[in-house]
């Protein structure tokens, strides 16, 4: 019997845990690799000029993602790099990145007058083999690169809707082996739910501009509010009104005239509050003790908006693009890489506005906030 037991069990396997990594939906190459000729891969970075904060964050995420993967010398301390697009790019160029990757001498900025020269440079460099990959942020660079039909792959790590704009055919099939674009699923719904979880509101005022639904995500906010049982009091403007000179005066007046007594917060959807109007609009909300929540834009919060919870994690986009780039460096097709990327929330808080509003800032909230403005 005892021999049978030992035979059946092999007399082993006791008191140990066997770990077999099943992995995730998709596996990325995490070992750095150089070009077959031993030279570093040459990367071009493109944006629609002038670059905005999201462009800088994407660039930062991309560069630091490459460093985490081992493509860039780990001795370089990027926490010392300036928080501005061009200055950051110069910081990258000023360091010896190592043997795996190098960046082109300057970033390519389209829409600021020199697009033809950019076209010629990109075509000649890609044909000569001097350039290996282009990484872009924005819908316009995506369309620009697609039309250029280069012989090298390009990655678009930020575009509002790369499918609707025609950069790729769909999130599942880009339609071109050399084209990849990041697709963020349901960012507006997730943002609204995030705000609701954080503040626990059941009634909210929302400033909206109609007519730009794809960009603003207003219908998705409404849909999510319905699912969560949140009542929305909308203060609505037309696209035409938003183009008028006194648009912000009108908005301020509308805000003052609105009955906000029942509202627990106010959400300024895309196209309503900007950097310039932020102090006045958020200041008024704070006076009334109502938290002002921003649809998109850390800089708006920096200027006064109380909080911006974004499901567009720009730095995360850059980071993810670096993993996709790693697969491309290993010889995989860009168009075969997974496009869907779900962001972790990115939260910024204006402490001065929060204090003026009477918003309680607990330890857990502050620990989760990525940046504090005053």
């Amino acid at each position: 019997m005892i021999v049978l037991a030992m035979f059946l069990s092999g007399c082993s396997g006791r008191n140990e845990v066997v770990i077999d990594v099943a992995g995730q939906d998709y596996e990325f190459e995490t070992e750095p690799v150089a070009r077959p000729d031993g030279e570093p891969f040459r990367i071009a970075f493109m944006d629609l000029g002038p670059p905005i904060e999201s462009s800088y964050l994407c660039l930062k995420g991309f560069v630091e993602g490459l460093q985490t993967l081992g493509y860039i010398n780990e001795s370089i301390d990027f926490s010392e790099a300036p928080a501005e697009f061009f200055a950051y790019y110069d910081f990258v160029l000023s360091h010896d990145l190592g043997k795996y990757v190098s960046f082109d001498d300057e970033p390519y900025m389209i829409g600021v007058g020199d697009d033809e020269r950019i076209k010629e440079t990109l075509v000649s460099e890609s044909e000569s083999g001097a350039l290996d990959i282009v990484v872009g942020t924005g819908t316009d660079p995506g369309i620009f690169l697609k039309e250029l039909d280069l012989e090298i792959p390009f990655l678009i790590c930020l575009a509002t809707d790369p499918v609707a704009s025609g950069i790729i055919d769909s999130a599942e099939d880009t339609g071109d082996d050399d084209i990849w674009a990041l697709v963020e699923p349901n960012p507006y719904k997730r943002q609204f739910e995030g705000y609701q979880k954080m503040l626990g509101f059941d009634r909210i005022a929302m400033m909206t501009v109609n007519g730009m639904d794809t960009i603003t995500g207003n219908p998705l906010y409404r849909e999510k509010a319905g699912e969560l049982g949140v009542k929305i009091d909308e203060i609505n403007f037309s696209e035409e009104e938003s183009l008028e000179e006194d648009y912000y005066d009108q908005m301020y007046e509308s805000l003052k005239n609105a009955d906000l007594s029942e509202d627990d917060a106010i959400l300024f959807a895309y196209g309503t509050m900007d950097d310039a109007s932020a102090p006045e609009l958020s200041g008024y909300a704070a006076e009334k003790g109502i938290p002002s929540l921003i649809g998109d834009g850390d800089s708006i919060s920096e200027m006064g908006g109380m909080m911006c919870l974004s499901c567009f994690d720009y730095e995360g986009y850059g980071n993810y693009a670096s993993m996709v780039a790693s697969n491309v460096f290993h010889g995989q097709k860009a168009g075969k890489q997974p496009c869907i990327y779900t962001s972790s929330p990115h939260v910024v808080l204006n402490m001065t506005t929060a204090k003026n509003t009477g918003f309680v800032t607990g330890f857990d909230l502050l620990r989760g906030v990525d940046r504090i403005y005053r």
């Binding site: 008191n15 770990i19 995730q24 739910e193 993810y320 869907i340 779900t342």
Partner: protein, 741 residues
């Protein structure tokens, strides 16, 4: 001198084993305490990672597409490493698929002998999305305890050597009797306990200091992280609540607060972490919970006392062994004389003590081992397989008992004893050697069948190893005492063996123990005498077909009356200590040491006081029915007092003591009453009667846990069951003295 050691070698062996057990227990207690502190530290360190992952999941991410989660795990690993611990952090999804780890390899093995485990659920809203498991290296903890372990070992050897010197120089010269030698041995063990307490107390303090430093530095760094973003200290609204939460998470922290540097007092119990990102000179102060350390030291001392009591019980139960061996060598052995029958009672008691000790030593550990392996069988989940490994043993036991009368007709009692003991020993050894849940379940089935065989042997020896009814009663009482003692020591020693060597080691000890039981029974039971008695009784006994005889028993009103009013309630009362009291202790969140002492009191009172009370009651009342009526009334009291809403620990200990007394008195009385029923006497022989009695008992013990579970949860059930006992007690009091002795 040789004669001295020959006579008292059992005492010396048991003393040495007790000393080893105390050494192991003290080391394990401190080791467990150190691990527990490290685990609390790990939980605190992992909070950032868990929160980060949970937040991302809440915002729509899934573990399967949380690319870069490995970096989150790495940050946790680095934090844990700051506290001086190597670790491997693993994240699994809800189905147990490993998503990512902090190791570079995709396939590796983690030996649990070298790594401890901390599992933290990752929630997505209300549902569990995955588990973050930290495997931490035990190496540092073990090596930090090594000097104390060495000191305690050498010190204990010294104390044992001192005992031997005293026995040799004084004991031999003055010709000490057994009781005095036992006293000297117990004094040596107590001295060892004091020495071990002194050695390990500082380790409790050191372990707490190490953990508190780590936690203070982590919390300080967390606060710094928030301040670094540009937040002022007074803008953190609920910092006090956060610190309170950390205090609750870590038992070794008495107090935690932020104060100005100049206010920090110089105190050994205070650990300070710098807060850098603030204009004011502030520090985080953590005060060590000396009360928590004291509580753990007291717990260790209480466990020492419990172990010493167990050692004394083993010593006391083993003392007659020398006499039994001496009688075995005498010419009286195998002769139908009073001395031989007295020795049969002694042998029954010691044989039961051995078999029950080793049976209960491993009983519950098959389930724990299967759960630890996390390995199912035949499509069953690990939890179900674990439960099956316990219940299959009982099923085999009951089925075996039903089959045993037929088996014993084809096999003489000695052969049945040998076969049963070998089956149990081999089954247990197989459980030790295997790594398979299936093998454990199958082997536990065989062990249960073997246990039924030993019960049959026990019943044969009780009924046939006697010259008259009085001697049979002595055998019954001795059998019950052996069962109580074995149960008590088995549970206690099983815990020590499992703690020191792991769950599976209990099967090795149980296997070897059953071989010792075989040797003892083979040598000390007068098998020829029993065989002769058996041939006489079988020629005199009931000769009809078994089914007809069972039919006659079932149709007897007095059988049913005795079952309902005596046998079933008696077995139900035995289950109070097995099910109700542990459940009560758990639901009241009382310390584990209360359960240890409840078991201990129950066993000691059942074993030693029960016997005395039983003989005194018999002397005065002379009516078993009335004795049983008192037992049932006391049973109702022990049951209902558990619902009194104060002094919980004290009441539980009193209840356990009463339950022990009821076992010691009630079991021989109820067995005797059952066997005296005319229908039983007429239709079944003695062994069959005891077997039927055991089967009924096993059935009651299978159902009782469910009723006692209801009693534990509801006062109505508790008082209703207690009321039924009082009613039955009244019925028995009202019965005419038909069973008067």
């Amino acid at each position: 001198m040789k004669a001295f050691f020959r006579e008292y070698y059992i005492i010396l062996i048991i003393t040495a084993l007790s000393a080893v057990a105390l050494c192991a227990l003290s080391y394990l207690t401190v080791l467990d305490y150190s691990y527990s502190n490290e685990e609390q530290y790990i939980i605190t360190c992992n909070e950032t990672a868990v929160e980060e992952i949970e937040t991302s999941l809440q915002y729509g991410k899934r573990l399967s597409n949380y690319y870069g989660i490995g970096q989150v795990l790495q940050r946790s690993r680095e934090l844990i490493s700051d506290g001086g611990m190597d670790s491997i952090v693993v994240v699994e999804d809800a189905d147990g698929n490993v998503i990512a780890t902090t190791k570079d390899e995709d396939h590796f093995v983690i030996p649990l002998s070298e790594y401890g485990t901390v599992r933290q659920d990752i929630l997505d809203g209300d549902k569990t999305a995955g588990v973050l498991t930290t495997y931490y290296s035990k190496k540092n903890v073990v090596s930090s305890l090594a000097p104390s372990a060495r000191r305690s070992t050498f010190g204990s050897i010294g104390i044992l050597a001192l005992l031997i010197i005293v026995l040799v120089t004084v004991g031999v010269k003055k010709n000490w009797q057994a009781n005095r030698i036992v006293f000297a041995a117990v004094a040596a063990i107590v001295l060892q306990g004091i020495f071990l307490t002194a050695v390990y107390e500082q380790e409790f303090v050191r372990a707490s200091e190490k953990s508190i430093k780590g936690v203070a530095s982590y919390i300080g760094a967390s606060i710094d992280g928030v301040l670094e973003k540009g937040v002022e200290m007074d803008e953190i609204a609920d910092l006090g609540d956060y610190l309170e939460k950390k205090k609750q998470e870590n038992d070794f922290i008495k107090d935690i607060y932020i104060e100005r540097t100049e206010k920090v007092v110089d105190d050994d119990d205070l650990f300070v972490a710098e807060i850098e990102n603030t204009d004011s000179s502030l520090v985080l102060s953590c005060r060590i919970a000396d009360g928590y350390i004291r509580k753990n030291v007291i717990n260790m001392v209480l466990m020492f006392v419990a172990t010493i009591i167990l050692a004394v019980i083993v010593l006391k139960e083993s003392l007659p062994l020398s006499d039994m061996i001496a009688f075995r060598k005498s010419g009286e052995f195998e002769k139908p004389v009073k001395d031989q029958y007295d020795n049969v009672a002694r042998a029954i008691r010691y044989g039961n003590f051995l078999s029950l000790t080793f049976e209960y030593m491993c009983l519950s550990f098959s389930a724990l081992q299967i759960k630890e392996w996390n390995q199912g069988a035949w499509g069953l989940s690990p939890v179900m397989a674990a439960a099956l490994s316990i219940s299959i043993c009982s099923i085999a036991d009951i089925a075996g008992m039903i089959a045993m009368p037929a088996v014993s007709k084809k096999m003489n009692t000695r052969l049945l004893m040998i076969v049963s003991a070998v089956v149990i020993a081999v089954s247990n050894l197989s459980c030790f050697f295997t790594g398979s849940t299936v093998v454990i379940i199958v082997m536990r089935f065989f062990a249960g069948a073997g246990a039924a065989g030993t019960k049959q042997v026990r019943n044969e020896v009780i009924t046939k190893g006697c010259g008259n009814e009085e001697q049979r009663n002595s055998n019954l009482t001795a059998s019950n005492m052996g069962v109580i003692g074995g149960l008590l020591c088995g549970l206690g020693l099983g815990g020590v063996v499992a703690g020191v060597f792991g769950y599976q080691a209990t099967f090795l000890v149980a296997g070897v123990g059953h071989l010792l039981y075989l040797l003892f029974e083979y040598a000390c039971i007068p098998w020829k005498l029993i065989a002769e008695h058996a041939s006489v009784t079988s020629s005199e006994g009931p000769g009809r077909h078994p089914l007809k005889r069972i039919g006659a028993v079932i149709s007897s009103f007095s059988v049913w009356r005795t079952l309902i009013t005596i046998v079933v309630p008696q077995y139900f009362l035995i289950m109070i200590i097995v099910c109700l009291i542990p459940g009560r202790i758990q639901s009241l969140e009382l310390p584990g040491v209360v359960l240890t002492y409840a078991n201990l009191l129950n066993g000691i009172i059942g074993l030693y006081v029960g016997e005395i009370v039983y003989s005194k009651l018999r002397g005065r009342i002379k009516n078993d029915l009335k004795i049983q009526a008192i037992v049932l009334a006391a049973g109702a009291v022990s049951l209902m007092m558990l619902d009194i809403p104060f002094a919980f620990s004290l009441l539980i200990l009193i209840s356990a003591s009463i339950a022990g007394l009821l076992d010691g008195v009630g079991t021989p009385v109820s067995t005797d009453l059952f066997m005296k029923i005319p229908a039983i006497n007429e239709h079944l022989n003695g062994t069959e009667s005891l077997m039927v009695y055991s089967v009924i008992g096993s059935a009651v013990m299978a159902i009782a846990p469910f009723i006692l579970e209801l009693c534990e949860k509801s006062m109505i059930w508790m008082f209703s069951v207690g009321g039924v006992f009082l009613l039955l007690s009244a019925v028995l009091f009202a019965e005419k003295g038909s069973a008067e002795s």
